[in-house]
Amino acid sequence: MSDITSLITATAAELGQRIAAREISSVEVVRAHLDQITATDEAVHAFLVVDTERALAQAAAVDARIAAGERLGPLAGVPIAVKDLLCYEGLPTTAGSRILEGWVPPYSSTVVRRLNDAGLVILGKTNLDEFAMGSSTETSGYGPTHNPWDLTRTPGGSGGGSAAAVSAYQAPLAIGTDTGGSIRQPAAVTGSVGAKPTYGMVSRYGIIAMASSLDQAGPVARTTLDAALLHQVIAGHDPLDSTSINAAVADVVGAARSGDVKGLRIGLVTEFGGEGYAPGVELRTREAVTALSAAGAEVVEVSCPHFVHALATYYLIMPAEVSSNLARYDGMRYGLRVGDDGDNAVETVMRLTRGKGFGTEAKRRIILGTYALSAGYYDAFYGSAQKMRTLIARDFTAAFEQCDVLVSPATPTTAFRLGERVADPMAMYKSDLCTIPANLAGVGAASFPCGLAPEDGLPVGFQVMSPALADDRLYLVGAALERELTAKWGGRLLDQAPLLPGTKVVR
């Protein structure tokens, strides 16, 4: 194995340990990842901007602190990619939209500050669907990201850039955000690990808002332990976010190290299967449940009757919040301004700016939200969606009386082809069928790789959902599954991915 291969395929946990022990420097680790980005990103397009100079300076600073005898956290010196929805002072932040092209935030989000404080080195910003609205990264104003497993397919979305960066060995870790599945569905279709913490556990301060009552940032990684270590860094109370929960972070790292599921009651959601689910997805989900059962978990089938209405509920609540949150992009204080010729009044300039700056999906959702909130329709649409949200939350409460975690496929199919669902919004929206209930109820949820679908050889994700604040259970199950399945596969699932053109990985 070449030096660069060992640096870019290592886990974040290993890199952190070796950097702390001064066996390797953060600078060489960061350089290796920057080289891999240069070599592979023309094909993958995971990054919108790479912050080479600052990354190398941050790495050198971490190395100097360690050399001076400072003891830093377990991820100090480890590189990370950040979804381009999080403000990072001094680096352009676009949210994947042309309306924010070239905007440089004057401050950093709390998540970014926590990463910096923990000594992580930010490599750059990753591609996403415009304002995180999509399930394929194809609505990005800057072109789609390609799935490293098959470059003709999407890496899922909205956080396709973060998931692709991690699975292409461009970064061992990434930050994603999840409003209806945007961390978990991309993790599933790229064979990586992605977790959406309990709503309120990770600060939303400085993260560009899509649907504020649903948005939650979380970790993307190649292993369960790496995701848990990153979860530990970014979670915790923040006075700058009024919905931040002031409670202790569950011991996610301890859970990921233990992986002991003996006696844990696992509830398989009966509603998530059947028509519309790929045979390979159903097969690997069943096998994952069998593996957990073999590891000592008790498996029960649990019905959550209102989960089938979650998608429809989401497409009323989310657009309503979108139409309100995206009202701020009016061309007055930041971003694009169109038609300001001295004759046009402010309303005309706003209309032209928003018409040009927003892509089709953003427009579709703003108009849908404007409709759902309009007088005369409010009760029928938004009002009943809020009632359904109560019924879905009650399904979770009832389920967690019968079991400790719920499990299901993360998404009904494997990675679909670029362009396949662009003209059919409902087909695209159905990618988030299994992930949305957790957002509506605010509970924790994660996707872990559970194999390749025999029909197309592409990754399948296994979703685990935990009660609110019990995010440690996600990692307990993830670690057990990873232990059982890697033993069966004789290595990580990602080891089976084809080598990318130009990759620095040598097998």
Partner: protein, 97 residues
């Protein structure tokens, strides 16, 4: 049923300029989406309390301490247009037709 002219009205309310082609495409798509979400109002008709937020919201209080940083220059650096250290915006009133 959402008509093309209703979509045009919504676009005007949302301050979004749409081309004729966009209006045509969107009217059909929005109608399909609204049809797909209609089941929600059929099921959630009972006397169920609405949930607006995943966690119950409580009012957040803090001490009234000065936390002011002079960031005007950084804010204006991202503005589409600046005049006399302020955001310059187009005139507010439309010309008489």
């Amino acid at each position: 049923m959402l008509t093309r002219s209703e979509v045009a009205k919504l676009a005007a309310l949302a301050r979004i300029e749409l081309s004729d082609a966009e209006l045509d495409e969107m009217a059909g798509q929005l109608d399909i989406i609204l049809g797909a979400v209609a089941a929600v109002s059929a099921v959630a008709t009972q006397d169920i309390p609405p949930t607006s937020h995943a966690v119950p919201l409580t009012n957040v209080m803090r001490d009234d301490v000065v936390n002011w940083q002079p960031r005007a220059a950084a804010m204006l650096a991202g503005a589409p247009d600046v005049e006399d250290d302020r955001f310059r915006v187009p005139h507010i009133l439309e010309e008489e037709q």
